[in-house]
Amino acid sequence: MRLLTHNMLSSNIKGVVNGFPLRIEVEKVVEKQVDFNPDFLKNMFSKIEWKPLVDASRAMGYAELPEEAESSMLDSHDFLQRFHHALLELHLEEGALICPETARRFPVNKGIPNLLLHEDEV
């Protein structure tokens, strides 16, 4: 699971109001090289919640993102490379995503988050 995906996931349990962001519990992180594509990053930037990305990448052991970001920073190659690495190259291979409101644990196995709910959660 890339952090881009983490940035798009919310707790889907019935009744949960603030289900985003899910807290990351790390067991194993894998780094996979991905082709650098500035246009993609520029398109995605406006869709990304920055603070959750910073916190998530820190949880994954990468602390090189600035605390705050704005679109003017997209002109910086250095910034784009850090953004690229955090967003696409860090994979949560094993671990869990924790609902911020209920502490329900969504497991991540072999890089795949499982958001399937129990009957009483739907």
Binding site: T5, N7, L9, S10, N12, F40, K47, I112, N114, L115
Partner: protein
């Protein structure tokens, strides 16, 4: 010519609880191939498949758009965890990547992906079944569609309306029994135009792959304005799109 490809059947992984690529999967991939140039010119950022099954469709989409659309990011979901594993194997065997999430339709993704999906592909469980067969575990989730095969389709259409970006396109497989013309009318009320990309008939069933997109001229804020645009004309155009629906009009010879 560029060397675009689709997933190769011998590289598609399998599991006894996962739906294998079949006529409907091939029809959907053929529709995407027919749309390939349009899709490349569309410059999609986020592509999502709901119900990826064996992974044949999302892998084919990633392969056919390939490096030319390297700005595209692929996400696929399935309610069947076995299907997610099989999709992962199929993607890896072809050297392409999609982010995978085990979930019901797009549950957990809807809030943050709202208005962001540029291409949504769905081969839904469309087979008419008793309602209590819908939502069962395993391979049944790949086909059990409830009354008229519409139970899951109708839920997916609601989600599609949330997820699609302003320029978003939805490609969905339907069966004649699903009443595709009624689906198109229903989507039209939400401001979506539609057309059939691929039509395929076998002795047992007639499949359509329908493309939906937001049409500014159809943007409606209530049912009244829909009616003002002239339902007769709408029905007329839909009849010409679905010539095989003889309960409307028997004009199958007008089929292109």
């Amino acid at each position: 010519m560029s060397s675009f490809r689709t997933a190769q059947i011998h590289l598609v992984s399998s599991h006894r609880e996962v739906y294998e690529p079949c006529d409907d999967s091939f029809a959907l991939v053929d529709a995407l191939l027919a749309e390939r140039v349009n899709l490349l010119n569309h410059h999609p950022t986020l592509c999502l498949e709901v119900g990826c099954g064996s992974g044949y469709v999302i892998t084919s989409l990633a392969l056919m758009l390939g490096k030319e659309a390297s700005g595209a990011h692929y996400i696929a979901t399935d309610i069947n965890p076995h299907a997610i594993r099989v999709t992962q194997e199929t993607l890896e065997a072809h050297g392409v990547h999609a982010e995978l999430v085990s979930t019901d339709i797009a549950s957990g993704l809807e809030k943050r992906l709202a208005g962001s999906v540029d291409v949504l592909v769905v081969n839904p469980p469309y087979v008419p079944t008793p309602e209590d067969e819908v939502g069962r575990d395993g391979i049944a989730s790949a086909w059990a569609g409830g009354e008229n095969g519409r139970s899951v389709i109708d839920r997916i259409l609601l989600v599609a309306d949330v997820l699609l970006s302003d320029k978003g396109w939805l490609y969905m497989v339907t069966l004649t029994a699903n009443n595709p013309s009624q689906i198109c009318l229903q989507m039209r009320e939400k401001g979506y135009a539609s057309r059939i990309v691929v039509q395929r008939s076998t002795e047992e069933e007639s499949l359509h792959v329908i493309k939906f997109w937001k049409d500014a001229d159809l943007q409606v804020d209530g049912k009244e304005s829909t009616h003002k645009t002239g339902p007769a004309r709408v029905v007329e155009s839909l009849i010409s799109q679905f010539p095989r629906l003889s309960f409307w009009r028997n004009n199958s010879n007008t089929n292109r």
